[in-house]
């Protein structure tokens, strides 16, 4: 709460070093309206062409329910896995010096830059039963390409940079004296990590998690190629929407999009609240 109060006070104050509150706020609202709010509102308007019965029939159909489960489930697990392994990558990049560090650092950004279709095709080929990696997994009875596991791997691939790039700068700024303080108070390495380092990084980690999760929810390009896209089995929501569009069912497609939007918004809001809570100690209101 104190934070909110502060920002309101600041906005009301006219005698600031850099004026321009009206301009910047006006621009912000215009920009957000044009780029985000109006297109999203259009989605809601379009979906309202359906009657309630049609709407519920579309969004609660068994293929739709299965697609929600898959989309949110795979995205969530991909983000969780990224949170763990992305954290380790960030840790290694910040804490150690080794030959080729710069190259590894640059590699992390590749999933950002690569067209997702390329990633999907590459992953599908590698993990296919006759691919380089798939060939090793096939004898173990593990199929990756064209299964839900493949979707999960594609989503993990595209989400990695978000965790690494949000955690890395915060970890680099972490004062080494904090660890020394914990050590001199008798904490072992494990305790220092769990009780000091991780809590300090959790806001950044949660931001990275939310970004990776959101990115995975909207991912389309790579999943189309690595998934077999069978309804009820390996069909994610964006694909379901595409197939409705292919059948010229625009209202139905937007209805699915609306459900997706609402759930995504609620989940991201929850993550934001969690992040705000984990960062609650960062208030600077001196009594």
């Amino acid at each position: 709460m104190p934070l909110g109060n502060n920002s309101i006070c600041m906005a009301k104050k006219q005698n600031r070093v850099l004026p321009g509150f009206r301009w910047t706020l006006g621009y912000t609202l215009l920009y957000l309206s044009l780029i985000v709010l109006i297109p999203l509102a259009a989605t809601f308007v379009k979906s309202s062409e359906l009657t309630w019965a049609e709407f519920s029939h579309t969004v609660f159909s068994p293929p739709a329910l299965a697609a929600y489960r898959l989309s949110f489930g795979a995205s969530f697990f991909a983000a969780v896995v990224n949170a763990v392994f992305g954290f380790i990558v960030a840790w290694v990049l910040v804490r150690y010096d080794f030959f080729g560090k710069r190259i590894v650092d640059a590699l992390v950004d590749l999933p950002f830059a690569l067209p997702t279709a390329v990633a999907g095709i590459t992953l599908a080929t590698l993990y296919a039963p006759n691919g380089w990696i798939g060939a090793w997994l096939a004898p173990l009875g593990i199929k990756v390409s064209y299964t839900q596991l493949g979707i999960f791997i594609a989503l993990t691939f595209i989400g990695l940079p978000f965790i690494v790039r949000t955690v890395q700068p915060v970890l680099a700024d972490l004062d080494s004296e904090l660890e020394e303080a914990a050590t001199s108070l008798g904490a072992n390495r494990w305790q220092t990590f769990w009780r000091v380092i991780l809590p300090m990084l959790s806001p950044a980690l949660l931001t990275g998690f939310a970004l990776a999760f959101a990115r995975a929810l909207g991912e389309y390009g790579s999943v189309v190629f690595i998934s077999s896209n069978i309804p009820m089995k390996t069909q994610i929501v964006p694909l379901l929407i595409m197939s409705e569009l292919d059948g010229f069912q625009y209202a139905k497609a937007t209805a699915l999009a609306v459900v997706m939007l609402v759930i995504s918004f609620l989940l991201l809001l929850a993550v934001n609240l969690l992040q705000w809570w984990s960062n609650r100690y960062n208030t600077t209101n001196l009594a």
């Binding site: 004296e177 303080a181 001199s184 008798g186 009780r195 809590p199 100690y281 208030t283 009594a287």
Partner: protein
């Protein structure tokens, strides 16, 4: 019974931070490590805490006879307060102080009740009770320093190590903290070492002061001992303002210009060029020449603000500049004016035989 270090050498690349340092701190003593930046005082403190390890094999750190040289910081039981506090931002004051108790191995970890009692005690001792629920970002510098100290004390350390404990607060709070540290030390009598670059702080707070220079201990003693009998020009200069007068040493006197001043020790030097050291408050200024005891000088500037008046003067014979300090009374009696010619008498003149550079 003491905390002792022997033959400590520590190099960072080409830089020698500590060079064969030996130091013994008696149980319950409050010792200041005083020196300019880069003199190795913080490194010495970190070596004692186990946050830094000495280079040579002969090095030893002893806590009450027990060799802890190879024991890691987490098991040394040395309480360390960092210059910038290093408080855990995500924990409130209570949990910061409780940290050392909560991370103990299960067998020796106190119960929740005991932790509450112990932390409560420390909050009271450090006058932090109303702040128990606050986060470090909501505290002032002085309060943070006290939390850092309480946190270090919570683990019942064998020795308390404070790195520039008054370094990051403003002048007024600094004075309060000094007095408070002295009082705290009288109450709990824990063996304490603190690092400072402020000679006034060291002389006021510590039982003994160790002066470091370039990784070596230059002199160690009580504040009076080192102030009255500095072992070297460096120590003399470091402990306060100083005037240098070039002259000649001859049989228990030093001749400055044409005036002879008595010297306590001439360190065996006879009839050689020498530099005499005189503190500004050991300079007396008169309007009339007093025979062979004074030499003439001109006042360049007077500043009567504050408890002591500061004068800047110039020798008439060779133009050498020096400073004098007068008490308020003396200043009002004399009423010196800039540009005026006066006579100067020197007291407590010191001569160092080694090198004259500071």
């Amino acid at each position: 019974m003491s905390v002792e270090v022997k033959n400590i050498t520590k190099k960072f690349g080409d830089f020698t931070a500590l060079d064969q340092v030996n130091l013994k701190v008696e149980s319950g003593e409050l010792v200041a490590l005083l020196g300019p930046s880069g003199s190795g005082k913080t490194t010495l403190l970190r070596v004692i805490a186990g946050l830094e390890f000495p280079d040579s094999g002969a090095a030893q750190v002893l806590f009450y006879g027990e060799d802890v040289t190879a024991i890691p910081a987490s098991q040394r039981k040395a309480g360390f307060a960092f210059q910038h506090y290093a408080l855990f931002r995500h924990l409130n004051v209570f949990e910061n102080i409780a940290f050392g108790l909560r991370v103990r191995p299960k067998a020796t970890r106190p119960g929740e009740e005991q932790i509450r009692a112990r932390v409560g005690e420390l909050l009271k001792l450090n006058q932090l009770e109303p702040l128990a629920k606050r986060f470090p970002s909501q505290l002032s510098g002085g309060q943070r320093q006290r939390v850092a100290l309480a946190r270090a004390l919570a683990v019942e350390p064998k020795v308390l190590l404070l790195d520039e404990p008054f370094g990051a607060v403003d002048a007024k709070v600094r004075k309060e903290l000094r007095r408070w540290l002295r009082k705290l030390h009288e109450e709990i009598h824990i063996t304490t070492l603190f690092v400072t670059h402020d000679q006034e702080e060291a002389l006021e707070v510590a039982d003994r002061v160790a002066i470091l220079r370039d990784g070596r201990i230059e002199q160690i003693g009580t504040p009076e001992e080192i102030y009255d009998n500095p072992a070297s020009p460096f120590v003399y200069d470091f402990l306060g303002n100083v005037n240098l007068f070039s002259g000649r040493v001859r049989e228990g006197t030093v001749i400055i210009g044409e005036t002879e001043f008595a010297v306590e020790e001439t360190a065996g030097e006879t009839d050689t060029d020498a530099v005499a050291f005189v503190r500004p408050h050991d300079i007396r200024i008169t309007r009339e020449a007093n025979g062979q005891k004074t030499f003439p000088a001109r006042i360049l500037r007077c500043n009567g603000a504050g408890p002591l008046a500061n004068l800047e003067l110039e020798r008439l014979d060779n133009g050498g500049l020096f400073a004098a300090q007068l008490s308020k009374e003396e200043f009002q009696q004399l009423q010196p004016k800039a540009g005026e010619q006066v006579f100067v008498e020197l007291k407590n003149v010191k001569i160092f035989s080694e090198d004259f550079s500071i």
